[in-house]
Symmetry: C2
Subunit: 235 residues, 2 copies
Amino acid sequence: MNTLVENGDLPVLTLDKNTPVTAQVYSHIRQLILRLHLKPGEALSEQELSVKLGLSRTPVREAFIRLADEGLVDVYPQRGTLVAPIRIAEVKEAHFIRRVLEFAIVRSAAENAGRRHLALLEENLRLQAKAQRRKDYESLMDHDEAFHRLLSESVALPRAWRVIQSLMGQLDRVRYRILPKPGHGDLVRQQHVAIFRAIQAGDADRAEHEMREHLDQIWATIEQLMRDDREFFTD
Amino acid sequence: MNTLVENGDLPVLTLDKNTPVTAQVYSHIRQLILRLHLKPGEALSEQELSVKLGLSRTPVREAFIRLADEGLVDVYPQRGTLVAPIRIAEVKEAHFIRRVLEFAIVRSAAENAGRRHLALLEENLRLQAKAQRRKDYESLMDHDEAFHRLLSESVALPRAWRVIQSLMGQLDRVRYRILPKPGHGDLVRQQHVAIFRAIQAGDADRAEHEMREHLDQIWATIEQLMRDDREFFTD
DNA sequence: TTGCGACTGCTGCCATGGTAGTGTGCCAAT
DNA sequence: ATTGGCACACTACCATGGCAGCAGTCGCAA
């Protein structure tokens, strides 16, 4: 029997009465997938998840729809729903798209970012450093994400962030596997600092260059992982 | 009384038994919105649409969810669902993102496109010319879309196309209003030809340059429209 | 005339039940 | 031993009904 979740090791979803249940279920399952609590290829089921969460099948089903649009689950009508495998081609593509978007964003940030956003970015860097010292990788990843979100907000492209977000779905599962590698966190943090300094100086070329270094380094690590950890990927 | 659809002037949705109804409803409504048969700000209703389509409310509702994710409708819980207004800021943002993606795609196409894709592009250009001569703007728009899709396929970035697609949702409604302007179609077609020639020649710089001309020209037209047609936009 | 509260008619949200489609395994026929 | 077919279990799909939240109205009281 392939139980969906091994009893109590999953964070229990505590419902907030104010926001729609569907949305909460969606982000809950999304987190479970991205953090690899639900493994690629694992079978899901409206039925099973709904009883496990103490809800009806409708909100679960509607969450599946959104996850399928995002490419995180594959729905096979009348047969079942699986956590999407990590497809190498899709990871490559997501990274490619992310690159061009982030380059454009960071250039624009260097040219336009205001005092306020610079302060927010600086604060974020402090939080990253703190999480790094504590080896709190979960929150480090949150701050990392927030760093990139702040960048896209600083140039008033909220929608770009949503696009990147949905692409990152493909990358996050990989990243999550990489994070605890020794030295990796420090390097990433230094690169973030370098990007920040370039933006602060208003130097678009340097900012793009630093971002390129950053993303290329991440990509190298991902490729490394794809070689070492073949059974985790498809294609 | 603001009836959702004025009786018979909407294309009737003919159901295909093989594919899920939800998906069909989704793309049906999406087309209605993009082609402006459903106007920005217009009220939708699960109830009303479901009876009009002869279905239950469930697939309509599920289609709404996807449309809301895409930004084409705004759902106000317990109050109603509206066709999203055309927000100038979002149009700008969509165009910005589209630019950087299309530049990267066209460069990559110039460097990598194979014989087969070049042939497909050439064929597409012929179809565009034909539609242009017939003043068949609806199908011209389809071919235009296909042209850009072929580009992203030629570099094996199918997901990039989906991203662009969803961004284009914001732009399509605008484009649809521009198309019939005299001279516009010819110009666009010439630009497409220029892009194609550059790709064929394998000249990435020129290809990007021609794409830039193309998109900038489109943008100028959009800005013109935003000035002339203020009541169609929000913000 | 004006303020305010109950009422009514909407909406989308969630629960639940029936159905059709798909795969699996058993059993019989060869 | 192999294969064909059929029953069954399981899935997601769609229909439907009850409900809570919000707005607009209408009437009553100050």
